[in-house]
């Protein structure tokens, strides 16, 4: 497979993982991410890896935990309700400093919700689980990025020995788009598992990987150490898309994932409005300072989301001027159209 081809978002995630050297996948069926486990059940054995259909998402994440302890590049995928079940395991992995890639193809909630696209798990991704931990969260906006970000997520997870999340939605999971795979690209493997994984202590000192630290002060120190790592991630791994050339704007649109691409259409169509797009690509770490700078010259900052207002809270923290910030969102699987967003923009600008 090379050159330009048409690929479904969910399949691009699976291919990105295989190309990055992921050799352990565990999952449980849930729409709209079902193509990933289906495809992995065939592809993973072909690639010499292990595919496991778990009996629940709780087991999926703990299988990934186990594979990661043993040093395998591993991944699980699910959609919103399944992600709630994984929170305990993700926290354990963060506590144990274990790499792993977790993909959430978001659908409408709360509860069992529906199977339509949504961005309602932003909070859960950037403020995950129990305990003081953070997780790099990448938000792709097209199918090329579904592949690229998943590929890169494995190196990021290894580099920091930390879980990494791909936060996407049913629209990007289910749609197909032309992409180009870079099959020659090799994963960097920045921190080989042989240096830390539990592989049997023959010929070396035994290692321990655990998150239970009962000795007085030990857990407090562990948290300080984790935060040193998180501060390093904030400095080194921040990503966002902001076209510096679009200097001539008085409206700044902030959107991520699939809404960001619709927002680009809004800007292209609404020639009567001077607007630019700021797209956070890492949702954690969030580009606060860069967004603050970009918002300075804007009269209004518009936040568009497929929820009732989650990322907007981070945008408000960044902009530090609530009177500037306008929000438009659709919950429960509602898809904002280009026309709808443009008419909101026009109404507020006039």
């Amino acid at each position: 497979m090379s050159g330009k081809m048409l690929m479904k978002g969910n399949i691009a995630i699976a291919e990105g993982a295989i190309d990055a050297g992921c050799r352990f996948y565990a999952g449980y069926p849930i729409t709209p991410q079902n193509e990933i486990p289906e495809y992995m059940s065939k592809r993973m054995p072909e690639a010499g890896g292990v595919f496991m259909q778990a009996e629940s998402e709780l087991i999926s994440i703990n299988l990934v935990f186990g594979a990661s302890v043993a040093g395998a590049r591993s991944m699980t995928t699910s959609s919103s309700p399944g992600m709630s079940l994984m929170q305990e395991g993700i926290s354990y992995m963060a506590g144990c400093e274990l790499p792993g890639v977790i993909v959430n193809v978001m659908r409408g909630g709360p509860g069992l919700g529906n199977i339509a696209p949504s961005q309602s798990d932003y909070f859960q991704a950037v403020k995950p689980g129990h305990g003081d931990f953070r997780m790099i969260t990448l938000a792709p906006s097209n199918i090329q990025e579904m592949y690229d970000f998943t590929f890169e997520a494995f190196d990021l997870a290894d580099k920091y020995r930390n879980p990494v999340m791909i936060l996407t939605d049913g629209l990007l999971g289910q749609m197909m788009e032309t992409i180009e795979l870079s099959r020659g690209r090799k994963p960097l493997n920045p921190r080989p598992a042989s240096e830390w994984a539990l592989t049997g202590a023959k010929g070396r000192e035994p290692r321990k990987i655990l998150s239970l630290l009962m000795k007085p002060g030990a857990l407090e120190q562990h948290n300080y150490d984790l935060w040193k790592k998180y501060d390093e991630i904030k400095k080194s791994e921040l990503r966002y898309e902001f076209n510096e050339k679009e200097k001539d704007y008085d409206c700044l649109i902030v959107a991520f994932g699939s809404v960001a691409r619709t927002s680009k259409g809004v800007i292209a169509e609404g020639k009567d409005i001077k607007a630019a797009l700021f797209r956070p690509v890492t949702l954690w770490p969030f580009p606060y300072a860069e967004l603050r700078e970009a918002a300075k010259k804007a009269k209004k900052v518009f936040v568009f989301e497929m929820n009732m207002g989650q990322m907007v809270e981070d945008v408000r923290l960044a902009v530090q001027d609530d009177s500037k910030v306008e929000f438009y969102g659709r919950p429960g699987g509602g898809l904002p159209s280009q026309e709808e967003l443009l008419s909101f923009l026009r109404k507020k600008v006039k």
Binding site: K4, M176, E177, A268, Q338
Partner: protein
């Protein structure tokens, strides 16, 4: 060039496959393309539709609100989407199952795709006939590439089936070309 296509009909008529086919040919031609299916509790006979966008530029939202081309397989699909038809919209309608609304604007290609498919003794090729009509009526993708894609996507089928598909595609092209 950006071409926004909306395709609608009933589950089993090949609505999603038609969209996929057009997007694949576009990819073969190094164009950008998106294909967005309506997904849900899909079943044979249920309402089915998809959006396809083909472009030389970056494609923004994959959702088609105002199509440049509307392809409809049956009356329910036609009634659901005809309000989106504008002066410049190309409407390709399966006249076997769609009663034309004469008051509707747009450039129309009315072809009896189901009858034509039955004449080829393979009702399943109705969507391929519609594809042929589209390729002839709107020169966005190349007919030869379309035939190539048809052959490669049917690769494992028996040769008789492949021939019927190619005949169906050409019949659709011819019908639309005459109009």
């Amino acid at each position: 060039m950006t071409e926004k296509i909306m395709i609608a009909g009933s589950g089993g008529q090949g609505v999603l496959m038609l969209g996929l086919f057009l997007a694949r040919v576009a990819a073969m031609e190094k164009k950008n393309a998106t294909w967005l299916p309506a997904y849900g509790a899909e079943k044979r006979g249920g309402f089915s539709h998809c959006s396809v966008i083909i472009s030389d530029e970056e494609i923004f939202s994959p959702m088609v609100e105002n199509p440049d081309t509307l392809i409809v397989f049956d009356q329910r699909a036609y009634d659901s989407y005809k309000s989106r038809v504008k002066e410049n919209t190309l409407v390709i309608q399966n006249s076997t199952l769609v009663k034309d609304d004469e008051a509707l604007p747009g450039k129309k290609v009315k072809l009896p795709a189901l009858e034509m498919a039955n004449r080829l003794d393979l009702a399943k090729v109705m969507n391929v006939i519609m594809a042929g009509a589209y390729v002839a009526a709107k020169k966005v993708i190349n007919a030869e590439n379309a035939v190539e894609e048809l052959k490669s996507s049917l690769g494992r089928k028996e040769s008789g089936v492949i021939k019927k598909n190619i005949d169906a595609f050409k019949a659709g092209m011819e019908y639309a070309g005459k109009k």
